[in-house]
Symmetry: C2
Subunit: 231 residues, 2 copies
DNA sequence: AGATTGTTCTTCGTATACACTTTGCCCTGG
DNA sequence: CCAGGGCAAAGTGTATACGAAGAACAATCT
């Protein structure tokens, strides 16, 4: 409990490097910086209005997270997720999110389930309103929340990173995924509420399968061919 | 193919930050820097004989990898893996390495299997010689190799990071794991050679279960109590 | 003793300098 | 017209210095 205080002492201060990292990540995910695009330190520094140092630190982390590739003495470029990478990501994500669903089912409190149901309801509304952007947001929120409920920080942070990348590939490809995934979400939350780990895991897998199928469709048309315009 | 050349152009140059990162990682894993220990930038810079900048960049990555915790305006301390974290790690690792084993079984070439068998043989020799350090090395090499054979870069890099942490916790605890694990390794390689994904996955799981059990024994006696010497 | 105030240690961010590579361009010679 | 050498610009890698602000700790005052 003394620890809680200490953690909070200087905690509200967000170092510039973190702000830069977040901005960089979202810029990449949103496609403001396209795969293969060169990211010079000076330019990023100017874009974000900071000096080179925070930028450099953010770049290293972004590299560790797989958003950029850094070639020694040649600088950073936005990573280019190949279609091979997409399936690789989904295979891993399947295992991880299935595990998360199981753990969540085993550990979820009534409050946790309630929170999930709120997201579900908001998702339904947004879907009705055809507010695709909001639907995508809530989709993320739901998945992230389940990861958090799983209570396993490793699982959570790894799967989260993977999730961000999937999002990235999605946006590069084309539109957001269709709203039909919400039916699967309901199945998943029901399973979690039931406390049945096996059932939750199966639901997560079914959902991920559908998602990966959708991703592939996307990839065929919108992505695969524009990898390297003229190799 | 033009790509290969370009990748290699400046590639032999190892930036200081990378050297620092590697050194820092191994120093932490080897227990030269103990959990909770404070890592001031100046000190690290002096320890490694570089300026503060490379140190700072290495620290950010080390934080992303979970080896250090950085508190804003208070600096970096070596992370303290709790016994909770240990089991969390193993749960994730189980899924990941099981998947790796399956993929490896499905994709391994004859050469891959031969390489694994070489490691196995060397491991047997080292075990006979009671060369525990070498046994541990070969153990790592085997696991990492399987990850590589799986051909999934995400899986590989994530599991590798996890593996490093497990190693870390092991060393903190006490001695290396007993040599009996090599029997399980042989089972695993056999399964991979057979090309039977299910069987490989089962073998990996059996191995991981045993390893996690051993880790727990270790944790009880050697680790849990010395977390904070005098809180 | 308990609160307050300083002092000191560090981190955080900026700025600057410079060596060294890589890259791109120009220019010359075939 | 093109090949190839050579040169300048751009950019990274590293070091260093400095100021501002926060946190920890000690000393001081009530």
């Amino acid at each position: 409990m003394a620890e809680d205080l200490r953690d909070k002492l200087g905690a509200q201060h967000l170092p510039l490097r973190d702000q830069v990292l977040t901005a960089l990540r979202t810029a990449i995910i949103d496609g403001d910086y396209l795969p293969g695009e060169r990211l010079t330190e000076d330019r990023l520094a100017e874009d974000f209005g900071v000096s080179r140092n925070p930028v450099r630190e953010a770049l290293r982390v972004a590299e560790a997270e797989g958003f950029v590739v850094i070639l020694p003495r040649r600088g950073a470029v936005v990573a280019s997720p190949s279609s091979g990478t997409i399936s690789d990501m989904f295979v891993v994500r399947e295992r991880l999110e299935a595990l998360a669903a199981r753990l969540a089912a085993e550990r979820a409190t009534a409050a946790d389930v309630a929170a999930l149901r709120v997201l579900l309801e908001q998702g339904r509304e947004a879907t009705d309103r055809q507010d695709l952007r909001r639907v995508a947001e809530l989709n993320s929120a739901l998945h992230l929340r389940i990861l958090q409920i799983s209570g396993n920080p490793w699982l959570s942070s790894i799967a989260k990173a993977l999730y961000l990348h999937v999002q990235w590939v999605f946006r590069l490809g084309a539109a957001e995924r269709a709203p039909h995934s919400w039916a699967e979400h309901i199945q998943l939350v029901d399973a979690i509420e039931s406390g049945d780990g096996d059932r939750a895991e199966r639901a997560a897998l079914a959902h991920l399968d559908a998602a990966s199928a959708a991703a592939y469709e996307n990839a065929e048309g919108g992505y695969g061919s524009r990898q390297r315009p003229h190799a």
